[in-house]
Amino acid sequence: MYLPRIARAIAENPFFVLGVSTECARREFEREGQKLLAMLALGLAEVQTYATPLGDRIRTPELVLHSMAELRNPSRRLLHEILAALPPSEIRAPYPTRFEAGDRWIEAPGLFGYGWFQQGRK
């Protein structure tokens, strides 16, 4: 599944994936990540999903590894800290929840010469 960038940044926020607070020290998320990886490898039920503001999501080893790598990078961590502290959604109308890579309708306005989607058609 291919989520829009912003939605993905929230749904796959490393703090949510690892289940740690935005104030945790490096050692803490490293420990927690290792524990989660071990528990996922052995199929422990309690770690199969994690909670996000967009609902529960499936936790995978790849996502855990990626989250650990993101938090090790200080500037990336800062970005995730901001997103993890987002207020509840103000969105008034639904936004498509699922995009697929082959969906040209995402670019559709540009295909017909309409505005801001032209750039991707180079």
Binding site: E30, R31, L44, A45, A69, A101
Partner: protein
């Protein structure tokens, strides 16, 4: 030695290879029967097909050149066959590498008494996927059951960091025989992390040798009517002998100021020459400084890419034989300033690091044998085999059997006993253990049943080594799938932690009929950072042939593609069709061929583009604009590519590959420069899109999105002022993304897109279907049925035709 762990690491180098073992507390080098720690990566096959490897083969490199091969690592992943004349045998590069690995395996057996079954083998960080695949294949051919690959700079860093855990950022400068890698690493809180790496696949000790060969050729040609050239195929034998001699002289000159070069009877075509003159360190410095500076430019580029400057590097670790050259050390000290790490052997550091990595991956080299102590209730355990964490977790699951299992488990080692950890109803437990620093900790696992009786568990012990925690290695180049639009769909960004696995849905652009072999759906897998697929390297393809299909794949149907890369950079891919058929075999995972005619044509095309850019630059300069400095650099790079193409015509397969890769890079760089010349157009587009995004977000955006747009707008403005094309494009994408989110909240959005698509119905791929969808869409609009309208619009837009010329550029991709 038998009671201790035994981890094997191998540095499979271009010029020399080495093996090291780690026993849980220190590393030991594996020695050849002659007592050396290095095995030259050279193979000889004589007329009786007897294979000789290493130092003995190297001795014949000069006298029996047609039956001895070296530097085949540079050809790994190509389909180039290397011929041994006397025996008539032709071997692939990976088969020759397998001979080196067999020799190292035999040395381990000789020294430690068993054949290692598992090992970690190093590979350059910038190895492409086919090259990594070829390395794994070499290991399989050498008899290893399981190997993991490690990037060379990580191995070096791990070996250096093992002995010195001082926190800080440091640089690993790895100048090998054929490639140059540089990595920035950080150690903090016991964690070793690769911050980033860069390199030059065309720069290595061999280039230094060739620079010296050119010096000798110039001296020999002086006063003669015709110069002796490397590109003349009649000189191939003389050049090889010269290269061998200058390599020896170069090594000698690391210890002395001057040495002599004596080679009698060198045959250049019809001319016979005796070489006898002196070469000095100064000669090496003169000829090689430009090459060293090229490597330093890569170091500075890496620092800049990570927002750092040389003063922030606390030390530089040198790896590889050529780093012994005084000119390298001197230039590094002059330009980067950081101290060079002492006490480390640049020739064996990679092998030692690979052995340490084997420990972190818990890859004991010995074949797995179940011992009597392993009898008991089976328990699967997960724990870090090597960690800096003083209290790591051990997670376990006890096998499900009828007899009652343990109600709790306890871990203990000498001098420490852990608490009883309860086992849950589904047989799992999570315990924490206490490890002693800087040593191998062996824990016994004790199970206790609910009635208090002991339950024997298998395995009954686990080992955890306290040391560095190694962060997952990052991917050195982005990997993705080429689309029919000549765009790259990135699956894994550069720097993504490995292992990684991702799945995306694509749409098929052509119909594949079952039974037909000529009907093929191609899913090209590419590696590189470019948005345009043809600029990325094609590293493999999944090909779905009609003859393999149970039912047809229709144009417009969806297909699920999964790419996975393991910790060593090995790629696997899978395609799942709409009918549920799975395809997994990646075809031709090979570095593409580089025939001389193709190289010549590519050089001609690039020259043409370069000349247009020169014209444009001259015209602009007349109007007061600055002349782009990089144009001169392109000229130089193209001349180098021409020289390599010349050597390729003389039969040098390595030079052909080098030329091919260089031409791809020039192509991409020219593309970037061409984009820059289009800057005013891009700038105008950015302004227009920003205005539209502002308009949309003012109506449909959230306050947070509006804030993000403000930030993006200000960054875009900065990028415009700095004329930074990549930054401008990246900000533009961010703005587009925000605008798109807002646009789709407009209740009329789908209606607008539908109406636009409907107005272009005549160009649709399947006109009857398009008409049907238009009818359905109109009804949906009347009924206010948003969901159906959305579906119709999606299908309608996907029916728009693909441009065949663009598709060819996109490596003939069958996907969009």
């Amino acid at each position: 030695m038998n009671d201790r762990p035994f981890y094997l690491g191998i540095d499979l180098g271009t010029t020399n290879s080495a093996a090291s073992i780690f026993d849980g507390s220190q590393t030991h080098m594996v020695r050849t029967p002659q007592g050396a720690t290095l095995t030259p990566s050279v193979v000889r096959i004589d007329s009786r097909a007897v294979i000789t490897v290493g130092a003995r083969a190297r001795q014949s490199l000069e006298s029996d050149s047609e039956n001895v091969r070296s530097e085949f690592k540079r050809l790994m992943g190509t389909k180039q066959l290397l011929r041994f004349r006397a025996s008539g045998k032709s071997l692939k590069p990976e088969e020759l590498s397998a001979e080196i690995l067999k020799s190292l395996r035999a040395d381990v057996r000789e020294q430690f008494g068993f054949d290692p079954a598992h090992a970690v083998i190093s590979a350059p960080a910038l190895f492409e996927l086919p090259q990594s695949a070829a390395t794994s294949e070499a290991a399989r051919l050498a008899g290893f059951d399981r190997v993991e690959l490690i990037q060379e700079p990580i191995a070096s860093a791990l070996a250096a960091g093992w002995t010195d855990e001082t926190s800080g950022t440091w640089m690993v400068y790895d100048l090998g025989g054929g490639t140059f890698d540089v990595s920035l690493l950080e150690t903090r809180d016991g964690l070793l992390r690769v911050v980033g790496h860069d390199g030059d696949n065309f720069l290595g000790g061999r280039d230094f040798d060739l620079a010296m060969v050119d010096l000798v050729l110039e001296r020999l040609s002086s006063g003669r009517p015709r110069a002796f050239l490397r590109s003349d195929s009649r000189n191939a034998d003389a050049i090889r002998k010269l290269k061998f001699a200058v390599e020896e002289a170069k090594i000698e000159l690391t210890r002395v100021e001057n040495t002599s070069l004596q080679i009698p009877n060198l045959q250049f075509g019809d001319v016979n020459v005796d070489v006898d003159f002196e070469v000095s360190r100064e000669d090496v410095a003169q000829r090689c400084t430009a090459l060293v500076d090229r490597s330093i430019a890569v170091c500075l580029r890496l620092l800049e890419a990570n927002g750092m400057h040389p003063a922030q590097v606390s030390r530089i670790v040198l790896v590889g034989g050529p780093t012994a050259m005084p000119v390298v050390r001197q230039r590094l000290s002059e330009t980067l300033g950081a101290p060079l790490a002492g006490g480390l052997d640049p020739m064996t550091l990679v092998a030692q690091g690979a052995a340490l990595y084997a420990a972190s991956a818990n890859l004991d080299a010995r074949p797995t044998v179940r011992t009597i102590s392993d009898i008991g209730r089976r328990v699967w355990l997960q724990y870090p085999a090597m960690t800096s964490d003083p209290t790591p977790y051990i997670v376990g699951r006890v096998s499900e059997e009828k007899a009652s299992g343990p109600a709790s488990v306890r871990f203990e080692r000498e001098g420490w006993t852990g608490a009883e950890t309860p086992v849950t109803q589904d047989g799992t437990f999570v315990a924490s253990v206490n490890v002693l620093p800087h040593r191998t900790n062996e824990f016994r696992i004790l199970g206790t049943a609910s009635d208090g009786s002991a339950v024997h568990l298998s395995p009954s012990t686990v080992r955890i080594i306290h040391g560095l925690t190694l962060a997952d290695p990052p991917l050195s180049r982005a990997i993705g799938v080429a689309l029919a639009s000549d765009r790259t769909h990135i699956y894994f960004e550069r720097g993504s932690p490995l292992p990684a696995r991702r799945t995306f849905l694509h749409e098929v652009v052509q119909t594949i009929i079952p039974g037909s072999d000529s009907s093929v759906l191609r899913i090209p897998i590419v590696q590189g950072e470019y948005e345009k697929a043809h600029l990325c390297r094609l590293v493999g393809a999944l090909e779905i042939r009609g003859s393999q299909l149970a039912s047809s794949i229709s144009s417009g149907s969806s297909i699920e593609v999964t790419l996975a890369v393991d910790r060593g950079g090995r790629l696997s891919a899978q395609a799942l069709t709409a009918s549920g058929q799975v395809f997994e075999e990646i075809s031709h995972l090979l570095v593409p061929d580089a025939p001389a005619e193709t190289l010549d044509q590519a050089i001609r095309d690039l020259r043409k583009r370069l000349s247009l850019l020169f014209n444009d630059a001259f015209q602009k300069r007349n109007k007061g604009s600055e002349f782009p400095a990089q144009l001169g650099g392109f000229e130089l790079s193209l001349t180098e590519a021409e020289r390599d193409a010349g050597a390729a015509r003389a039969g040098d397969a390595d030079a052909a590959q080098k030329a091919r890769r260089r031409l791809i890079e020039i192509d991409a760089e020219l593309d970037a420069l061409e984009q820059e010349t289009q800057f005013p157009k891009l700038e105008a587009q950015a302004v227009m899109e920003l205005s539209m995004a502002m308009a949309l977000l003012s109506i449909h955006g959230t306050s947070h999105e509006r804030r993000l747009l403000d930030e993006a707008a200000s960054a875009l403005d900065q990028a415009r002022k700095a004329r930074d094309v990549p930054e401008l494009q990246s900000r533009l994408q961010q703005i587009q993304s925000l605008a798109r989110a807002a646009y789709f909240r407009d209740p009329d959005a789908w209606k607008q897109i539908f109406n636009m698509a409907a107005s272009r119905i005549n160009s649709a791929r399947d006109l009857p279907l398009a008409r049907k969808l238009v009818d359905q869409g109109r009804i949906a609009i009347e009924r206010g049925d948003r969901e159906t309208l959305m579906q119709c619009t999606r299908q309608l837009v996907n029916l728009m035709p693909v441009d065949e010329k663009i598709r060819q550029l996109g490596h003939d991709s069958g996907l969009r």
